[in-house]
């Protein structure tokens, strides 16, 4: 069984702070991590490696520092790591990103592609399904659980919706997007870390190695463009009180009365 895990290195956006004076984001010193939904996908792949001896390749499109995330994946147990890195990939929207990743995937054999549902910086949840479309393979997103059927030619997944879930059978080759809730990713072992930097390697591919129209990569290839970005203007704060509980409760009740907030 051959599995390709699409993984993104992201800034830990939960740790971002606003500068109290200027109101702008403090971007320096934000730790970089493997995106949570992707890491769950990697863990799912590594479980299939444990169970069935599957071969696991991790693939990332990113700047050179994404090497670190790929080493972490190798240290966790991935067999092969590929970094797609090229200045010409920069500024890509999801359409250009998915096309680039699909072009890389086409150079490999695979049964199953696993992508995280969404990345914590972009939050679009678009790249996984768009890769599946470009490869013309079935997709199932919002996967919380998966099992391989006897014969190892298909999987049964739990696909969640707001009000419940479906159990779905899908044959290889296919793509699934995974949720962080799916599992608890394993830690890297000391031996794994050593191997990740010694015996194993991160292959680096550029746009030149991909069979795609170069004009479709990066900002140039992106149908969507950022016209502007801005920090939200803080709302003018209301009144603040520090007082006894009964006085506080009274303040709230008066506000509710004033605003006709009723049953």
């Amino acid at each position: 069984m051959k599995i390709i895990v699409c993984m993104k290195q992201v800034p830990d956006t939960n740790e971002v702070k606003l500068d109290p004076v200027t109101g702008t984001l403090i971007r320096d010193g934000i730790p970089s991590i493997i995106n949570h939904d992707d890491k769950a996908g990697l863990e799912a792949a590594l479980c299939l490696k444990d169970q069935f001896g599957a071969h696991v390749t991790v693939l990332t499109m990113g700047p050179p520092q994404a090497d670190k995330a790929l080493r972490e994946a190798l240290a966790m147990g991935a067999d092969r790591a590929i970094l797609l890195t090229d200045r010409r990939f920069a500024g890509a929207d999801t359409w250009a990103t998915s096309l680039t990743l699909a072009s890389a995937i086409r150079k490999m054999d695979y049964d199953l592609i696993i992508a995280g549902r969404q990345a914590i910086d972009g939050d679009t949840a678009q790249v996984g399904p768009q890769i599946a479309e470009k490869l013309s393979i079935p997709q199932v997103s919002y996967v919380e659980d998966l099992e391989v059927e006897a014969g190892q030619a298909s999987i049964i997944v739990k696909r969640i919706f707001e009000e419940g879930y479906h159990r779905i059978r899908v044959k290889f080759p296919c793509l699934i997007t995974t949720l962080a809730e799916m599992n608890t990713p394993r830690y890297m072992s000391v031996g794994g870390i050593m191997a990740a930097y010694n015996e194993k390697q991160v292959e680096t591919w550029t746009l030149d190695q991909l069979d795609m129209n170069p004009d479709h990569a990066g900002l140039k290839g992106s149908p969507t463009k950022v016209r502007k970005s801005f920090t939200k203007a803080p709302k003018a704060p209301g009144k603040k009180f520090n007082t006894e509980p009964d006085a506080a409760a009274r303040l709230i009740l008066d506000a509710l009365k004033e605003r006709f907030i009723v049953e």
Partner: protein
């Protein structure tokens, strides 16, 4: 792709087992506004195995045309039959804009359709405006994990596609007797279009919590101290006719189910009243509730960022204030007996 050949606004009307989802009604309302600004028509694309919702109500809400694709293969939802059908409808009608609800269905379908059509898609838009000069849709959405806002355009590709979360746009008043048409659209489905096999459909056993519809939310965060504090919040919610919600921290701690989660990775709510109890006010949380009409924040920490977003800020202990508030609440009832 000749941009000038594309016109009109289309809303993908999402239905589940024949029931139209509220987010689609919100988007029809917004779509109507956008169509009016552009001097264009509004169309609804409904894909279903059988609709229980009356089509004329979609017209009353603002649609000029309802395009109905009806076939058994469309229930339950699976990606390929929906992608095939919607892509054909879009190719035939050439709308300049297509709107989807950002639901677990919309976020599976819209990217696949946008990729098949090789056009741009912008997710989780909180604001949609029209630039009349260029006829471009200005799509504003949270970026960088919700820490900043970005306005996105799709200048050279059509249709421009957007997903919008439930509860972000307002539903309009229907215009009873409004005129529009409904047309069936035939798609030649075959069994080969079904790329997956749905073995089982399971509904959540617990009572469905719908915080997005609540007009009053009493929300608990990490600062309430323990899961045992939630019953106090529930009691207040009951008395006010509201619902309990929570921050991501409380959900991640296992104190309450994820269905109650408000925020960037949870739900977007805009109730008339939002009482934040023991919630610090991380940007990702604010992103989900800052449009609430009236925000009350109670927190022991005077420096909690939630106070910058609240209309009424109380530095204090939730465990003392909420029970006291419950005690004096009957005063409201006297005034409002109807």
């Amino acid at each position: 792709m000749e941009i000038q050949n594309y016109s009109d606004v289309m809303v993908f009307v999402e239905q589940r087992e024949g029931h139209v989802q509220k987010v689609s009604l919100e988007l029809i309302s917004k779509g109507r506004e956008i169509a009016d600004e552009l001097g264009a028509r509004l169309k609804a694309a409904v894909l279903t195995a059988g609709l229980t919702h009356p089509v004329h109500s979609l017209i009353e809400l603002g649609c000029d045309e309802v395009i109905l694709v009806e076939h058994p293969i469309l229930e339950p939802y699976t990606t390929e039959p929906y992608t095939k059908a919607l892509t054909e409808v879009i190719r035939a009608h050439k709308p300049e804009i297509v709107l989807f609800g950002a639901t677990t269905i919309g976020r599976d379908l819209a990217p696949r359709v946008s990729s098949r059509l090789d056009t741009g898609l912008t997710a989780d838009c909180t604001k949609l405006e029209v630039d009349l000069e260029s006829r471009n849709l200005l799509m504003t959405r949270p970026a960088f994990g919700g820490n900043i806002m970005a306005t996105i355009i799709c200048p050279n590709h059509r249709p421009q596609m957007s997903t919008v979360r439930p509860g972000v746009m307002q539903m309009a008043e229907p215009v009873i007797g409004r005129i529009g048409v409904c047309r069936n659209f035939e798609i030649a489905f075959s069994p080969e279009d079904q790329h997956v096999e749905v073995l089982e459909v399971v509904k959540a056993s617990k009572k469905k919590v719908n915080i997005e519809d609540a007009t009053i939310l009493i929300s608990g965060g990490r600062g309430i101290g323990s899961p045992e504090a939630f019953p106090i919040l529930e009691s207040l919610a009951d008395k006010l006719g509201g619902t309990v919600s929570a921050s991501r921290a409380a959900v991640d701690a296992g104190w309450i189910d994820r269905n109650h989660q408000v925020g960037q990775t949870g739900k977007t709510v805009r109730p008339d009243l939002y009482i934040a109890c023991g919630i610090s006010g991380a940007i990702q949380h604010l992103a989900g509730m800052e449009e609430s009409e009236f925000i009350v924040a109670i927190n022991k920490d005077e420096g909690a960022p939630i106070f910058d977003a609240a209309d009424l800020s109380i530095v204090g202990d939730v465990h003392k204030i909420i029970p006291e508030l419950i005690r004096i609440l009957p005063e409201l009832g006297n005034r409002n007996a109807q």
